[in-house]
């Protein structure tokens, strides 16, 4: 390949139709059809019916956690969890987190206190958190890219020392483990998302997981106006946060084959690694020792100084080839958070998941290799 083969310089794009980094994960139609026929036969559509009950149990087994409280979506999950904590005040949140985080907390009268993250991991570090946590009433960690946010347990120590709960956004961490232990088990509680672009598609949908039975009862009371599951203990404000039978049934289909889906992601991850190996300045977000990730995202880590090309130019160059990468620049909080900015600015999500096979991986890798080896020339041509 030579530079003229790049669509950026006039060649036809490498792919005829766009490959999207945020393409949804869709289950097989025949399974969907059978599942929905069963819903119609039962005539049960909402209000914690058999499909929601079954899904909560299946997901608890999968995550190896005691309680799963299914809700409408992940924002509702955080709103309900924050309300259950019932601690109006400042909550420590990472400067790199899903954009809805601060607003979801604000609905429950919790004010986010934003803390910078490690530029390398994208996660809170205990040192950064300890400096910001003096007045906070809770700490929220984010397992970015499925990386264990608290690998050495020091964040939990800090939370214990301050006497404030530690909760996790585990939307990136479905099926992820640290030394064999499900990430769902860390902290007081964690939230998951079943948005269609995530590892498990529930047509929206989300949940809160916890080992704490009393908290689970409170969450179950909070999410609807049905019976009170917390005898003698009023919750401050309930809402309708119910997951429907349709959402639960869809999520159950995805869960049935989760091991297979994660296995396919792992195979794809290995292909990306070999495709990108030896390209200076480019690597892949990769698990450390003892970590198991779901590899739902293939996050390209760009070292701009070594590569000699800016990340946004790489994104543009790939877009010309119909390779639509995504980034998480909008996940960085407003303010002076260099760690978060550096982390998000150096990561591009490559198309991954359904529809991306070994051919696509190797073709995209070749384009990246070409771009890397001609970085100076590309910059010069674009300058001219």
């Amino acid at each position: 390949m030579k530079l003229e083969d790049l669509a950026l310089f006039g060649a036809s794009p490498a792919f005829r139709s766009p490959l999207r980094a945020t393409a949804p994960t869709m289950p097989e139609w025949r399974k969907v059809e059978a599942t929905f026929r069963a819903i119609f036969a039962r005539g049960y559509f909402a209000n914690h019916g058999p499909a929601v009950t079954a899904f909560e149990r299946e997901f608890a087994d999968f995550l190896e956690i005691d309680h799963v409280v299914a809700v409408t979506n992940e924002t509702i999950a955080l709103m309900v969890l924050a309300r259950a904590l019932d601690r109006p005040g400042e909550t420590l949140v990472p400067a790199f987190a899903p954009p809805a985080t601060g607003q979801a907390l604000a609905w429950a009268s919790m004010k986010p206190r934003v803390c910078d993250v490690s530029p390398g991991s994208g996660c809170l570090t205990t040192d950064l958190a300890a400096r910001a946590a003096d007045r906070t009433v809770a700490i929220l960690g984010f397992h970015a890219w499925g990386r264990q946010c608290d690998p050495d347990g020091r964040l939990q120590d800090l939370s214990d020392r301050l006497g404030v709960p530690l909760i996790f956004d585990a939307s990136d961490a479905l099926g992820c483990k640290d030394r064999g232990r499900s990430l769902a088990q860390f902290g007081l509680a964690a939230i998951f998302s079943f948005h269609e672009t995530g590892q498990l598609n529930g047509g929206e949908g989300g949940c809160i997981v916890t080992r704490d039975g009393a908290l689970a009862a409170q969450l179950r009371t909070l999410r609807n106006f049905h019976g009170q599951e917390t005898p003698g203990r009023e919750v401050s404000a309930r809402l309708n946060g119910k997951m429907s039978e349709a959402q639960a049934a869809l999520a159950s289909i995805g869960l049935q084959d989760m091991t297979g889906a994660i296995g396919a992601n792992q195979t794809r991850h290995a292909a990306w690694q070999s495709g990108l190996s030896g390209i200076p300045g480019l690597s892949l977000e990769t698990p450390g020792a003892g970590e198991t990730r779901n590899h739902h995202h293939a996050a390209l880590v760009v070292d701009e100084t070594v590569l000699g090309l800016p990340t946004r130019l790489l994104k543009h160059l790939l877009a010309a080839e119909n390779v639509q990468c995504a980034d998480r620049a909008s996940w960085v909080a407003d303010g002076d958070f260099p760690g978060a900015r550096t982390h998000a600015g150096s990561r591009l999500m490559l198309p991954n998941g359904q529809g991306i096979g070994m051919n696509e991986v190797s073709r995209i890798s070749d384009i990246l290799r070409l771009a890397a080896s001609h970085a100076g020339e590309i910059m010069a041509r674009l300058d001219a």
């Binding site: 969907v32 607003q103 004010k111 809402l239 309708n240």
Partner: protein, 402 residues
């Protein structure tokens, strides 16, 4: 099928229950599965379950039906109400006026929006907010008025809007039970700043779970559309200052498709509701002390007949709760109607005499697609026995300590 002749035939006195399968108070309309699956398949083929064509089509059709400029679909009606409250409060603390006689979720939604509910008395006929009482409840911290359109009547919308206008307050309507009903000949949907409807399976239009907001206000519709997909960055240090404060309230395509399919059969649903309601009317007409709540202005306004509310008069020797208990024992999965009233659930003591009187009186009878005319006749036999032999029943219940 069991026939009722003696008191021993009643389930409260140990007889076998009338209905082995509980008879619910929800509409539970079900479209043809094949039609639904064909529509759902288009979403799967488009690989889009959120923010797709199905919900957009649903919104357009609902806006047309309600004769409003906008319909904004949301994940459920409660979230829709929370969104509007938060828009009107802009995060400031304050009071929101609402009826004392309504759904128990409303004060909770107000608290999510940072507001304090101010309960207000209702009219004895419409069960909706009394404009005079609202006028007297408006204070310096009032942020908005939340009125409720009930199944039996939308209430005095003009009177309430006039009070709101006189004080420069936003007014919006919980019209969850008002789909397909009219006020002054025009469909509900376009009154006040906005109206909120439900797509829950137990409501008139089944969308599994869901809701929508109708409005003629372009700016409000635009704000709601941004709000329901959490505007990516609030752009201010404290999200609580963000306007609007966002959340994920997107209605998914699976739910939207259900509502769209059921929308085609809505007229037939209302017709069946009317037939069931008329059957209840015939059953209740001869019974002393038991009356069916009328739908007001039936001759000139459209009604959806989604509820059959039984009014238990003081002249009956049995209490409302005893009537409720007797029907529940027969397999009626029913409730009292807005009882206890909202002002009795908090600590503050308020005097809302009409609300108190109404809240003590009603029982919701089984309705919807799971209830046949035969079922209504059976329920009528129970009610006849309760009306005719109330004193004996009360005595026996008393003996049993019930």
């Amino acid at each position: 099928m069991k026939r009722l002749s003696s008191l021993d035939d009643l389930a409260i006195f140990g007889a076998r229950r009338l209905f082995a399968t509980p008879r619910p108070i929800g509409q539970l309309d079900v479209p043809d599965p094949d039609t639904y699956l064909a529509l759902l398949r288009t979403a799967f083929e488009a690989r889009c379950l959120t923010g797709g064509d199905i919900v957009r089509t649903l919104e357009a059709r609902l806006a047309e039906r309600h004769r409003t400029r906008h319909c904004v679909a949301v994940a459920n009606a409660g979230l829709g109400l929370m969104m509007l409250m938060r828009i009107f409060s802009r995060g400031r603390a304050g009071e929101i006026i609402m009826p004392g006689f309504t759904f128990r979720g409303l004060p909770h939604f107000a608290r999510w929006a940072g507001l304090t509910p101010r309960y207000c008395d209702v009219r004895p006929d419409t069960h909706g907010l009394d404009p005079g009482e609202v006028e007297a409840s408006v204070g310096p911290t009032t942020v908005a008025i939340l009125a409720v359109c009930n199944a039996n009547s939308p209430g005095d919308i003009d009177g309430l809007c006039a009070v709101a206008a006189a004080h420069g307050l936003p007014i919006f309507f919980d019209s969850v039970y008002g789909l397909a009903a009219t006020y002054r000949g025009r469909p509900l949907g376009g009154y006040g700043q906005a109206e909120v409807f439900s797509l829950h399976a137990t409501k008139l239009l089944n969308g599994f779970e869901g809701g929508y907001i109708t409005t003629d206000d372009d700016g409000l519709a635009e704000t709601l559309r941004r709000q329901r997909q959490f505007p990516p960055r609030a752009g201010c240090a404290d999200p609580a200052d963000a306007h609007p404060l966002g959340l994920n309230a997107m209605l998914n395509e699976m739910h939207g498709a259900m509502a769209l399919c059921c929308l085609d059969g809505l007229g037939a649903v209302i017709e069946r509701n009317r037939t069931r309601y008329r059957a209840y009317e015939r059953v209740c007409a001869p019974l002393p002390g038991l009356d069916l709540l009328p739908y007001l202005d039936e001759g000139c306004e459209a009604r959806n007949y989604c509820m059959a509310i039984l009014s238990v008069d003081n002249s009956l020797p049995l209490s409302r709760d005893q009537v409720l208990g007797a029907l529940r024992a027969e397999g009626c999965a029913i409730n009292s109607y807005y009882s206890p009233p909202l002002h009795r659930t908090g600590s503050a003591s308020l005097s809302l005499p009409v609300t108190d009187e109404l809240a003590a009186r009603f029982v919701q009878l089984p309705v919807g697609e799971r209830v046949s005319l035969e079922d209504i006749a059976r329920i009528g036999e129970v009610l006849s026995l309760l009306a005719a032999r109330g004193e004996e029943i009360a005595a026996r219940l008393d003996e049993a300590g019930q």
